[in-house]
Symmetry: C2
Subunit: 362 residues, 2 copies
DNA sequence: AAAGGTAATTAAATCGTTTTAAACAGCAAA
DNA sequence: TTTGCTGTTTAAAACGATTTAATTACCTTT
């Protein structure tokens, strides 16, 4: 027998005041600032009663009247991809601190799915959106921006649109990771990337190229462009490169790296003996064996934190200025070489969370 | 300049009917069944107008009045863990088909966080919950069950509570994976597990033990219990076992396996030359090298599908029977041995999604 | 005593739906 | 002509909060 939900009216009656007063007190409690003037004692009495009855304001009613839902939508490529899942987790945690709830959606890099998700989320009344735009999503993003719905782009940017965004300095990252390979003595370095018009990918390639040029290695510059739905063709790329005497591979994404390394392994070559490998983001896999892989470490936590903070700012300042902020995060170059030390690193991913990182029982 | 949202009233006026009629038509369209009798022509006219004005019912209002939000809450250990992320993704996709939206939350195996999330979600008005219960969550789960809130437990069960649940046949899985090792000729097989009262873990151990007994290997039965916040101690377990001449390790979870394999690697041993390894769920890492690892493959997609379908059923039948269903999924034993074939497997995880699996650009 | 001011409180409108009960029109049966 | 029925349609009451404008009570000041 389910107990009827206690409403603001119950609290008002119990405390012997009007519902308006209860509303004032409750929202003041949340906001913190004393906007309404309520007698200290009365306020306390109301709080006590609310507490005793375990009163929880009905959020549908609150949303309906106030037009705010304290819910945001986060749309990314695929929540089951480690990189995005980690970001999602950071956003979730941080949103919770601000008492916001998060809706997640995955686009699979499909602009139609993206549009659909945006519609559904706006429909659900989200106060704002954090979006990882995919190729071909420019028009959709533009539409959202025009509707003045608070929006923050993540990981990638869309040209000619005034929006806030949080991205890595991908060009710098590309240059630095290439430099790391050069400094290790390699010159025949080739990049494996996607044939896609995504800002982050394009920038990474640009960085690679500029670094190679800076070291006078122009003749070795070569970028392989795979179609993302033809990922298995990576084996050909690897074999071909091997025949040309390539020394090192720079993979544009972690997924490419994993698949590339599988191809290398299947071809009978070894890392790092036969090829050096560099890529973006680390991976558990690199730590299992004595695999020296140079990685660009993206500050995952800051991605989440900055994006969320920016979005909240936009939501709260909605009526006033439509100013846009662009946050560019700095990459860090790391070499994963597990067997080097006798001590195990902390259990979880290197992008450790705010608190202690603890294993979950999968 | 944001266009004012079009309401049911606008549609009614435009179509020259009452708002009630519009409401009838709109909800009929969704439900499919003709519950209300509305003149065919009138209905069509209303639909046309609604379409022309691009009318979207306000979900807060709808929720407030009807008490249903078409939103469900999914609470798992950690959305950034591959296993749970994959399940989350399946649930998301399937929920979308039923026009439900999903709220996700992570407990980090902390019962207090779990309770908190449940409160927040119920507060947000979810129609039901899918929960991966953690240790010490029995009381909280019981509370939810008593409140008659539609609930489905996932991956693990809680004793003495009448709830629907979807779990793997962990005992059978434990036995079969052990058998796979035995059949490969190993007898000195030890299990590495957690010191936790979680049904899935306990069952896996039970399976291991029963299989060892069945093959008359009682004398070698040994299960190591790690505290989950002391995961680094796994190195000692491995070293100790090595000295005793252990031939194979059975890790109770994927995370344990990854950490265990790192420890093995750091100790200077090789897999499978020095130790055979078996565990639950595959991992990209296993495919990069010629690492023969026996895995229990959990039918991730079915976890998601079954749980969601069950929950929806409960939500829709809420008023009637409080019947509970227990879905027990069968495990499958697979050996990942990448170098065996010259062809690359599909890019994504082996638990391929419904549609084609496509890479995302991380 | 009247006027003005401030602090505290409240009545009532509103948000956009769903849902109940009533009303209406048209027609067949009595 | 009245009654009853069927098929359509509608008025109006929720749902549970927020928010505006008004009211009350109690001091000060003139």
């Amino acid at each position: 027998m389910r107990a009827r939900k206690v409403t603001i009216k119950d609290v008002a009656t119990q405390a012997g005041v009007s519902i308006a007063l209860v509303s004032f007190v409750m929202s003041n409690k949340a906001g913190g600032k004393e906007t309404y003037k309520v007698n200290k004692e009365t306020a306390q009495r109301i709080l006590d009663v609310a507490d005793k009855l375990n009163y929880q304001p009905n959020s549908a009613a609150r949303t309906l009247r106030s037009g705010r839902s304290r819910t945001i939508g986060v749309i990314l490529s695929d929540i089951s991809n480690k990189f995005f899942a980690d970001i999602a987790r950071c956003i979730e945690d941080r949103a919770y601190k601000y008492k916001y709830t998060v809706l997640f959606g995955s686009t699979d890099e499909n602009p139609r799915k993206l549009e659909n998700l945006i519609d559904v989320f706006i429909d659900k009344g989200v106060d704002g959106l954090i979006v990882v735009p995919c190729e071909g999503a420019d028009a959709v993003i533009r539409k959202v921006a025009q509707q003045r719905i608070p929006l923050v782009l993540l990981d990638r940017e869309v040209s000619d649109i005034e929006t806030s965004s949080v991205v890595l300095n991908n060009c710098k990252a590309g240059a630095q990771i290439t430099e790391a390979l050069v400094k290790r003595g390699f010159s025949r370095i080739e990049m494996v990337s996607y044939a896609m018009q995504l800002s982050n990918i394009r920038e990474r390639e640009k960085g690679y190229r500029s670094c190679m040029e800076a070291f006078g290695l122009d003749e070795y510059i070569r970028t392989h462009h795979l179609r993302h739905d033809k990922l298995h063709l990576i084996a050909e790329v690897v074999n071909d490169a091997a025949q040309r005497g390539v020394q090192a591979f720079l993979f544009a994404t972690n997924t490419l790296a994993i698949n590339g390394m599988m191809a290398i392994s299947k071809g009978g070559w070894r890392i790092p003996q036969d090829f050096a490998v560099a890529c973006f983001d680390s991976n558990e896999a690199f730590d299992i064996y004595d695999t020296t892989v140079a990685c660009v470490r993206q500050p995952i936590e800051r991605f989440g934190v900055e994006a969320l903070d920016l979005l909240i700012k936009h939501i709260e300042e909605k009526d006033i200025l439509p100013s846009c902020t662009r946050v560019v995060l700095s990459p860090e170059i790391v070499e994963s070489e597990s067997a080097a030390s006798g001590v195990l690193p902390p259990p979880s991913s290197p992008e450790a969370r705010t608190s202690e990182s603890v294993a979950v029982f999968d």
